[in-house]
Amino acid sequence: MGFVTYDVNRYTPRQMVVLPAILLIISLIVLGYSMATTGMPVKPGMDFSGGTAITIYTEDSPDVLKTVLSEYPIIYPIESGINNGKFLKFGLMDEATFDSLTSILDERYPDAWQFAQIDATFGQTLQQLAIYALIFSFLGMTIVVFLAFRSFVPAGAVILSAFANIAMTAAVMVIIGIELTLPTFAALLMLIGYSVDSDILLTMRVLKRQGKLEEKLSGAFRTGIIMTTTTLAAVAAMGIVAYLGNVPVIPAIASVLFIGLIFDMMNTWLTNAGIIKWYVERQESRQRKESGKKRGVK
């Protein structure tokens, strides 16, 4: 690949894991700080915290909307999408207020607005279910990986990279302000499964193929990078088109997957590759020692 100049064999295992280790620590600090200040590691979106969200597709500027809807409890700022989409959030409204709001919108923007409303208790129910789902997913993945490798270090390396992926992606979500909604949550879970496949490729190639470690590593790297770039391309294309077309849900899923896949490259080819390299080198040196001893006895 012409545009990738990283050489997986140039660095020692220690050098390889430094960068991801620092990033992981920073990510955990970011998540911990967010947890301490807001009670949630990632800012919960409307699905989990409750509220009313209205999207209006109009050429009216946010200021115009502000005057039109001045009587209603808008939570500012009004966000604007690229093609006329305006995203408004509202505070608590009673039924009558909400109905009058909808009739204004129906009159002014017929068929060009949509809304969603979730109450806080329901949001909490969803939150709870989401936590269960996350735990089950991660545990399930751990079990599959252990069954596949039946060896502590390689399996641990895969699981650590998957964990680092999720943590780093979540930290970036906090920093750039992507909220945790049902779709972005699904994307995070998908990363658990997604990120593991290049790790497995790496581990299988290194442990089960014959040949020199360097060759196996760079071969796995060539395949792995093309895999992740194709997925990145698909995800980016879907996200951009959906974003330009003002489609909800998909851009959020795409951006989380995109961020996660970028980290996946780093965690696979630095974290996981570093650990597996260290592991194989250590085993080889042990074998050398043992065979050396045997020779000594003779």
Partner: protein, 483 residues
């Protein structure tokens, strides 16, 4: 590749299966011209417009302990709480009115017991009944594009019910859900003539199917308001029902349809002669048949009203034109993603003989996935579409693994070596597929609304890939490389 090779390739079961499934899927999707291009695919609300309502049950399932006889305890509780209470398990009751935990604690202590657990929601049986009522109502309206789903926690208590209605707005959806049928009781006079007795609005409560003490016939008890009881008595006396009960059957009619018909019992006739009766019971017979009739009768007596009050916990409406726009955009997003994948693959291999089969197999996977979605009636919503495009991404990943594994060091391998390498590639793919399936499984099983579609599509996509398209691709690429 010559003709003979091609025929040989088509005869391998992997390739044959792929082709058959693609053909079957196209038939299942059934694209045809009907006011634009129409297919058998089911779209979610966010793609075709409509409203969903998530409703919370105003009831709770609680555990209790008491030293008193259970029936005494419950009777007293019923009086203090002024709510319908049903035993739903050993020391568990369903209270069909909203109370918070501390309110109940006080009431339980006052009645001589203790509250041992508290959970908002209803028992599975009640929830199923609510679902049935809502489905009947929606079917009666001819809205076949309606879905009712329950959200049940791990403890088995159902907290929410969700109704999805295509093509209607919020207020209309609320009307439909809240709409009640017209219920009437009429009495037979002479021959086939009947006279009006009372309307459903005088029925104040409806019980659940039960057996009268000492009898094995099933029935549903219901109470009339004072006015209703008077109307009932007057009609029975006026038309001679009290003196000749056997010839004065009572009909229950819901929306013009007779749903129950039986004579007055001599027992009740005598009581009515003496004074108004508020507590009534309609019996439906013995055994399993009697019970199932009783269940239906209960629903009819409620005339479409739910046995438990609900409050709206979440709702969303998407206008149909917006949904159409989203659908169009999804198609563009899909095409863009497929093109992007094709370009990257071409950049890597620069060999149409490899790139074309790769992209072709990748797309056939999507066709089969859509075919299965059409057959199992899996709704495609925005999240599911994102899942579909993600499948496109993972699918191509695994084709890359196979290609690189087989093409190792750029040499064309011998047949034996090829098989060995292919099986190693399949090993890698199997493990990664298993992790994706496991990671997505909780989302497919938990009632997390729209995420279900996403998870189901992802899992199906991975399975189709591992079981059908990857093996076929292995054969195809081998045939191409052995040229």
């Amino acid at each position: 590749m010559n003709r003979k090779d091609l025929i040989g390739l088509l005869k391998t079961w992997q390739v044959a299966l792929l082709i058959i499934l693609v053909a079957a899927s196209i038939i299942a999707i059934y694209p045809h011209m009907d006011d634009g291009i129409t297919t058998n695919l089911q779209y979610g609300l966010d793609l075709r417009g409509g409203t969903w309502l998530q409703m919370r049950f105003q009831a709770e399932v609680v555990g209790f302990e008491t030293d008193r006889p259970v029936s005494e305890f419950l009777t007293e509780l019923q009086e203090t709480l002024d709510a319908e209470i049903y035993l739903v398990g050993d020391n568990k009751i369903e209270i069909r009115k909203f109370y918070n935990e501390s309110e109940l604690k006080t009431a339980f202590t006052a009645a001589g017991g203790t509250l041992t657990s508290y959970e908002q929601g209803v028992s599975r049986e009640t929830a199923d009944q609510v679902k049935q009522i809502l489905e009947q109502k929606l079917n009666a309206l001819g809205t076949r594009d309606a879905k009712v789903n329950l959200l049940t926690g791990f403890s088995g208590v159902t907290q929410y019910v969700r109704v999805e209605l295509a093509g209607v707005g919020k207020s209309q959806a609320e009307d439909i859900v809240g709409k009640q049928g017209k219920f009437e009781i009429r009495i037979h006079t002479a021959g086939n003539e009947t006279e009006h007795v009372l309307y459903g609005d005088t029925i104040s409560t409806v019980g659940i199917p039960s057996q009268e003490p000492g009898k094995n016939t099933w029935g549903v008890s219901f109470t009339l308001s004072e006015a209703g009881a008077n109307q009932f008595r007057e009609a029975a006396i006026r038309y001679g029902g009290t003196t000749d009960p056997d010839n004065h059957w009572l009909d229950m009619i819901l929306d013009g349809e007779t749903v129950y018909s039986a004579p007055l019992s001599p027992d009740l006739a005598a009581k009515l002669q003496a004074g108004p009766v508020q507590q009534l019971m309609a019996s439906t017979g013995t055994g399993q048949e009697g019970l199932s009739k009783a269940k239906n009768l209960e629903i009819h007596l409620r005339a479409g009203a739910l046995p438990v009050e609900v409050s709206v916990a979440g709702t969303s409406t998407i206008p149909a034109p917006l949904g159409e726009h989203f659908t169009r955009m999804c198609v563009y997003a899909f095409i863009a993603a497929a093109l992007a994948v094709g370009v990257v693959i071409f950049y890597r291999y620069r060999e149409p003989a490899i790139v074309l089969p790769m992209v072709g197999v990748n797309l056939s996977e999507i066709v089969i996935l859509l075919g299965i979605a059409a057959v199992i009636q899996q709704q495609l919503d925005l999240a599911a579409i994102a899942g579909l495009i993600a499948v496109l991404g993972t699918g191509i990943d695994q084709l890359v693994i196979i290609t690189d594994e087989v093409l190792h060091e750029g040499k064309v391998p011998s047949r034996q070596l090829y098989e060995k390498r292919l099986s190693r590639a399949v090993g890698i793919i199997m493990v990664s597929a298993a992790t994706v399936v496991i990671a997505m499984l909780p989302l497919a099983l938990l009632p997390l609304q729209s995420l279900r579609g996403f998870a189901v599509i992802t899992i199906l996509g991975v399975l189709i890939g591992v079981l059908i398209t990857r093996p076929a691709y292995g054969k195809i690429i081998a045939a191409i490389l052995s040229k």
